[in-house]
Amino acid sequence: MSVLMVFRIALKALGRNKMRTALTMLGMIIGVGAVITMVALGTGAQNAIEEQIRATGTNTITVMSGNFTQGAVRMGEGSSSRLMAADAEALRSVPGVQWVAEGASTRQTLVAGNQNWQASIQGTNVDWPLIRAWPLKYGLFFTEQDVQAAAKVIVLGSNVAEMLYGAEVDPTGQNVRVRNHVFRIVGVFASKGASSGGQNQDDQAFVPYTTVQKKIQGIQHLNNITVSAVSGDQIAATTEAVKASMRVTQRLAPGEEDTFRVFTQDDIIGFATSQSSTMTDLLAGIAAVSLMVGGIGIMNIMLVSVTERTREIGLRMAIGARGRDVLMQFLVEAIVISLVGGGLGIAMGFGLAETVKWLNGWPAVIPMDSVVMAVGFAAFVGIFFGFYPARKASGLDPIEALRFE
């Protein structure tokens, strides 16, 4: 018997009991729909986080000073004071590197008139706004001369400016006091929002790193160096080149442990998304249970159906159906239920995801592989849970089956 004929027979049999077919499908529809919706919401959240991080630039590489050991006491990360301006200078000639910004940070109270505000003071250089693709709202960034002269100039983050001077006020040209130094405000950054770490990037102020080193902190070293690669595609190669350059300038012998740590934006994305992907997996796992229950529902109904239709099976065998014809009929019935149910479940998943997106404003993205997986799983469920009842039907003795009341 041809495949087409098997389908025709199975479809007719399903059509003869539409209510039961529809109810059996419901289990599959809800199962697949739940998986698609959950994965969509999880992926949406993941993408949102990733996008946020990417907005800070995908091609940045950060070099942090590593830990160091004093006596037997191992100091924490970033405690080493071996990261120097010379390291940064060497990085400028590394192939693939576009911009390099030295970083020396501190936390200080800024005082303007009768207002004060404690903020993170980032010592950096003129490449910083280029690396972060960060436009200024008022004024200009400080210049190369300011860096060389360790000038007392400051660029405020939008939140700092607002706290000290109020919203929508241009404070350029005014003075703020940091410790006992008076800084001239040369610019204010546009608002950028929270960083991937969750800290408010607008709650910072920027000064030349030389100023932090010489005037505020009195230190020689840097806390970090931010490097941007020419292109995001070559980030891996550039990262390796940066590491190599660092080992040379840090005068590390082969085999000696790195005194610094290098990480890219991708590392941060990986960390942040790994949390949300765990969540997605969990949600999908719970939804998969309902898919499983749907499959067992199909098996249940098919088993009941085999018993109920014993005489029909006997008749089919009496008029010439072979065991395998009956097996195929019941198997195809189960597969049709699960595939059609799966298809409707996908539609429901899309609908639900869109509804949640619209109602709650949550990002929802339906990845194609989740759709493919759902369909594959639906077919698998049909075959797996349909086989046992189908096998049972095909093994019936036509004489017994015809006698069945």
Partner: protein, 250 residues
């Protein structure tokens, strides 16, 4: 010979039965329950195999065939008519009649061809007008006629009717027997009728009586009943005896 093993017991349902049935015969098989007539019918219907001995159908030994081969024999050579009709519910008369064609492994029929043949066969049993009716919209006699059409559609060598009038009243029984007689006389179709009612058995040409797994009588029926004549002699049916399909079971 057919022996069943039920636990330690050995049940000899048939103990040495030897018969020849020629094409065109109308054989009535009777006997009390437990006489072996059902087992005999199952073997003739290729639903069962003899423990020993041969069953030659159309010149071919079918007693040693595999299960699948037997299914093929049932499909093409045997037409079953049952006491309980065994029509598929919620399926039109036409689809019910077409069913054996779907399982025909020798000839593949296109949908239009299946449709045409099913219509023709329904016409033979006088139900051409009711092809789109569901079984629950048909009377018992009409349902049995659909079942006969289904038995006929693959042009079998033999029609095997197992108590075909068991669920029918007298008048309808005569009608159904009339169809069997007509098919037998006009088309030369071999009919084997299993019944325990002697008056029904008398529509055949030959009577075989079973008892305790053996044939105890095998004779020509001297005074064969003629269903067509009997039907003509009966008073016309009262209107409420003919169910109207269009008003029933909706």
């Amino acid at each position: 010979m057919r022996v069943y093993h039920m636990g330690d017991h050995e049940v000899r349902a048939l103990r040495g039965v030897s018969l020849d049935v020629a094409p065109g015969e109308f054989v009535s098989v009777t006997g009390p329950s437990g006489s072996g007539k059902s087992t005999f019918m199952h073997i003739i219907g290729a639903l069962d195999k003899p423990t020993s001995g041969q069953y030659i159908l159309d010149g071919k030994d079918v007693s040693q065939l595999s299960k699948d081969e037997l299914a093929g024999v049932r499909n093409t050579k045997i037409g079953f008519v049952f006491q309980g009709f065994n029509l598929l519910t919620r399926t039109t008369a036409l689809d019910n009649v077409e069913l054996p064609l779907l399982y025909n492994g020798v000839k593949k029929f296109k949908a239009a061809e299946r449709h045409r043949r099913a219509m023709e066969t329904l016409d033979i049993v006088g139900l051409g007008q009711r092809f789109h009716h569901m079984p629950n919209q048909l009377s018992g006699g009409q349902q049995q006629r659909v079942a006969i059409a289904r038995a006929l559609i693959n042009e079998p060598s033999i029609i095997l009717a197992d108590e075909p009038t068991g669920n029918l009243d007298t008048r309808t029984s005569i009608e159904v027997m009339g169809i069997f007689q007509r098919l037998n006389v006009e088309r030369g179709i071999t009919v084997m009728l299993i019944t325990h009612e002697m008056d029904i058995a008398e529509y055949g040409t030959r009577l075989i009586r079973f008892r305790d797994g053996r044939v105890v009588a095998d004779q020509k029926i001297a005074h064969r009943r003629n269903a067509a004549d009997e039907l003509a002699a009966l008073p016309p049916p009262e209107p409420d005896q003919i169910p109207h399909a269009d008003t029933e079971a909706h």
